[in-house]
Symmetry: C2
Subunit: 244 residues, 2 copies
DNA sequence: CGGTCCCTTGATAAACATCAAATGCAGTGG
DNA sequence: CCACTGCATTTGATGTTTATCAAGGGACCG
């Protein structure tokens, strides 16, 4: 049932370009852990002990305001890390709740051990810096989109991104998470999400249940990416691309 | 005019806990550069050459959407880095515009040189990871606040944060940037900023020109932090604090 | 004194949250 | 197979918030 660890390692950019010895050491120390959908992985405020890398499935990270409103920070997927902020900013406790949004498979490590390895191995150092920096860039973009994009555009961007990341056929694919989860990730209410989907019909996006069909990706891109300042460097966006 | 480099280094967490030799090497390679208010430091799309650390003043980072809307990513101040994302994510060009929001003093380094040093020196490795991770956490919080907080609350949070960072007396201080700049940083229009300041009068925040007076910080905190999921771990917020 | 820049104020419209209720759908047990 | 229940989603009605457009101060500077 568990995939071959070696194959898995090849897919993780965090572990790319390691020396055989480094790779071997990490392979030996890796433990795989299963989490069923809905299971908590750690809680906000709990002492930090483990560092995780997602091998399969998805994890939702969220926090709660004193007023009781729940806010989804991100949905982490294959290759994403959990517990990295806490580890490198020396936080004694987890800074968010983590719950399996789908059935999950997680690589787990002792926090302090992985921190030591990052210090020791210079290739791992740069991989980790790239990974953490990328995470930060992503949340900067998310923040920006809340300011510049309207609800239907944010959904459109999410859908295009989805196809890109999971290598789905835009003409017909299935939403990997519940609509409420997606709405929360996009910082909107489920009602607004539902209504915004309606507005996307004009752009050629049909949704029935969890089945999505994007008639023409570039039409959707034209609608979405015109309001995004990163369009030129976004690998999901093809129409404004200048680099590559 | 330029402050003593040694004194400056003591204030930079990125350079803390270095061995005397490492510190010496960095000191020798540091160059100080002046930028007058309004001067561009680098442009979005320009090839990456330098890595900067702010020694004094403030730098506004922003991007533009294809539609022509300008979006402020952040205002960087003492100790903050510029060009780090580009460096560690191997971007060939700068990912944003950087312009001096106030008269600035910047430590500058060759990008590739600093990257090599981070690889070589394990103390610098962890400092850099902490710094970049913190930056990411900050933008996650900014994103969250766009969702959970109303305009006056975001301004209140900004003001409290300001007092904390610059060690200002809440009873009476001067805004370090123009109102338009602050509005943009907070993701709102100048008009909304102006109106929201009015609403803060009820909470005891008086603004005349650039002079701000917060009658009672804890009253303002009660108004602001109840909508923030990080209040418990936020060093600016005292009323919900559990850690320390 | 006229001009520019920055900010404020006013009026209006769009977008979104909220509250409430209806619908649909999956699983359960009769 | 069918009613029944619980949960997720949709739809409707309404109010709040904020962007937008337009015009009005007020300070500073030539």
């Amino acid at each position: 049932m568990h995939p071959n660890l070696t194959t898995l390692f090849d897919k993780l950019s965090l572990f790319s370009n390691l020396t055989p010895a480094e790779r071997e050491e990490l392979l030996e120390t890796s433990r795989l852990q299963d989490f069923k959908k809905g299971t908590p992985i750690f809680h906000h405020g709990t002492p930090v002990s483990s560092f995780y890398i997602i091998a399969d499935g998805a994890v939702r990270l969220y926090r709660e305001t004193p007023e009781g409103k729940e806010i989804t920070l991100t949905i982490a997927i294959l290759g994403d890390m959990l517990g990295d902020h806490e580890l490198f900013e020396n936080k004694p406790t987890y800074q968010a709740h983590a719950v399996a949004a789908e059935d999950c498979l997680l690589l787990t490590y002792n926090s302090n051990w992985i921190k030591k390895k990052v210090q020791e191995h210079s290739s791992l150092t740069l991989n980790m810096l790239a990974a953490i920096s990328k995470k930060g860039s992503r949340s900067t973009i998310d923040r920006e989109q809340l300011v510049t994009m309207k609800t239907p555009q944010r959904i459109g961007c999410f859908l295009l991104h989805l196809c890109d990341v999971f290598n789905l056929n835009p003409k017909s694919f299935v939403l990997p998470y519940s609509k409420a989860t997606i709405a929360s990730k996009l910082g909107m209410e489920p009602e607004s999400f539902s209504r915004a989907l309606g507005k996307l019909k004009d752009i050629g996006v049909t949704v029935q249940g969890n089945n999505v069909s994007i008639a023409d990706s570039s039409t959707l891109e034209r609608f979405v990416c015109r309001s995004c300042s990163t369009a030129e460097d976004c690998k999901t966006c093809h129409i404004y691309q200048i680099n590559r």
